[in-house]
Amino acid sequence: MAHTTEEVLAGLAELINDETGISPDQVTLEKSFTDDLDIDSISMMTIVVNAEEKFDVKIPDDEVKNLTTVGEAVSFIAKAQG
């Protein structure tokens, strides 16, 4: 079932909160995972794997490096749902 962009953002914010404790209202599209949210590459991977399961998409290792902001991650997931 394809989620809307808003749903993907909300879902992703929940996953980020589970992994890091960061409040979902802090997770906005323009934020950078590393610079703004202080999420390191290891936590990022856990969030990615959980997002794959939650949204039933595949996010290859090569692609993860390109997802530097929340917005980029949301776009990728929304598009990958097909």
Binding site: I42, M45, D61, K65
Partner: protein, 318 residues
Amino acid sequence: MSLGAARGDLVVSNDELAGPIDSSDEWIRQRTGIIERRRSSAAEGAIDLAERAGKEAIAKAGIDPGAIGAVIVATISNSVQTPSLAALLADRVGATPAAAYDISAACAGYTYGIAQADALIRAGVAEYVLVVGAEKLSDFAKPTDRSISFLLGDGAGAAVVGPSDSVGIGPTVWGSDGSKWDAVGMDHTIKEAFEDPEGEFPTLRQDGQAVFRWAVWEMAKVAQQALEVSGISAEELTAFVPHQANMRIIDEFAKQLGLPDSVLIARDIQTTGNTSAASIPLAMHRLLEEHPEASGGYALQIGFGAGLVFGAQVVRLP
């Protein structure tokens, strides 16, 4: 039957390594769970560490080293293509003329060695087998590398495996995924280093994110399989001894496995570092020193690393 351990003679703090990687003690602790690691001084090589660990295991097993039928050394630290470290180790511990060979299976090397020892003894080809994981990874650590260098430590762990009336080593679940050959390994070849006038000695590097994902989620499946084929459930385990790759991997792995709180989890990496093939026997040796009551209980050990390769088995703690 018995374990032996040897760690590098130097204690190297995070502060000593943080400068060249433009980092800090806090960053290293947070990323890896390492407070300090052991490394060897110039005078001490992988073979010396192997000898110390091997002799301890042999003494604790209470056997004549001459009864050892095979010496297997899992290592990536041999400084020459040939001869093997195992041949020299056999000589040093008094096991000559035992069969002797090295295994190149990175951080899965020790579990591969245990699988082999188990098979050799069951086949009647050897009565006792000395399996050693021995590494001097500091020889392959580039101080400015931010992907892996600060994780690395030096050490050796040894096990004497022998015949028994009851099963002490469960069926091995092992394998490889060569499609990820580039995920962790050397940054260039020896030949390339030699041909380049400014060439540096090859050192270790990794694609940390790819390795983390594989090590946690794929290896959790392997660990489950190892439990299933051994007929031991997570609740029956006394200890979980994963390759000490990174504390974050150990934590997430344990979470994925859903281990009960009663299971002891080896976290030797905290003060030893990642010693590749040596990490499992070193961690197990330490766990038993700190929890002697664990002896005789079941432990799930799993190694995984460059190749990518992996190996897991449930064993009885000596």
